[in-house]
């Protein structure tokens, strides 16, 4: 299950940010490594909410800086 979440999150980010999935690790930083802007982050959060049928509060969303943080947030949800 955990691996499944990881795979889906990474797949989604790879597609959205147009990078190869195997370039993405837990430590990949959305802003520093993927050059995401605030709109990218807002869109990603909505995509994650839809993909996993969860709600991510704005407060929580702002704490997500790396791919690993996104994955653990979803696993805890």
């Amino acid at each position: 299950m955990a691996d499944d979440v990881r795979e889906r999150v990474i797949g989604l980010i790879a597609e959205r940010m147009a990078v190869e999935a195997d370039q993405i690790t837990d430590d990949t930083h959305f802003i520093n490594d993927l050059q995401s802007d605030s709109l990218d982050m807002a869109e990603l959060v909505i995509d994650l909410e839809e993909e996993f049928d969860i709600t991510i509060s704005d407060e929580d969303a702002q704490k997500i800086e790396t791919v690993g943080q996104a994955i653990s947030h979803i696993e805890e949800a």
């Binding site: 802007d37 709109l39 869109e43 909505i46």
Partner: protein, 247 residues
Amino acid sequence: MSCLSGKTALITGASRGIGRAIALRLALDGADIAGIDVQEELLGETGALIEQKGRRFAPIMADVTDLEQMQQAVATVEDAFGSLDILVNNAGITRDALLIRMDAAAWNQVLAVNLTGVFNGIKAAARAMMRQRSGRIINVASIVGMIGNAGQANYAASKGGVIALTKTMAREMASRNVNVNAVAPGFIETAMTEQLSDKARQALFARIPLGRLGQPQEVADVVAFLAGPDSRYLTGQVIRVDGGMVM
């Protein structure tokens, strides 16, 4: 002209007046049209006129004040036409009174349709346009939103709000190649201005350098420019279509 062929446009308040003229003009330019309104029969008439031009038309009965209905409407357009390229937030109402005589309901209703309706339309369409990295949003404001008008505190405030919303959305969506502009009509011959007395009309003409009321088609022509390829370097602009009333 077929500069919009292959494009799809969603127009709120498409059953009559400026909204119908916009629907017909964008259809003439080649776009398929989805029209939102609450007046089913009139919307059907708009649809018949569009289909005569050989374009597809999807009538959508929805209330712009309801975000869920607007989201459903956008989903309907995407199902029917495959994408949404142009959104025209045109639906508007008036409930005129001097402020000291204006009740809260008149204020709230006008703000709900004219301003919240635009928010709902943009919110419903924004993600799809951002995803496809292209889109045009055109909001119908009013010169009254720039200069005020006695007896229209609610309408003027709503249209001033539309102008500020237009500029903000232009900034938010520019990086995704979505252009957001507004037209600000002056006095146009529609049901909305029909109730003006002859005396009021004559007084108006004196304030309009071109000396006459505008036609819905004349607003639609400017909307067509903002929807088409020639305005690709314009965003966050408010174009007055008012016969020179405000300069």
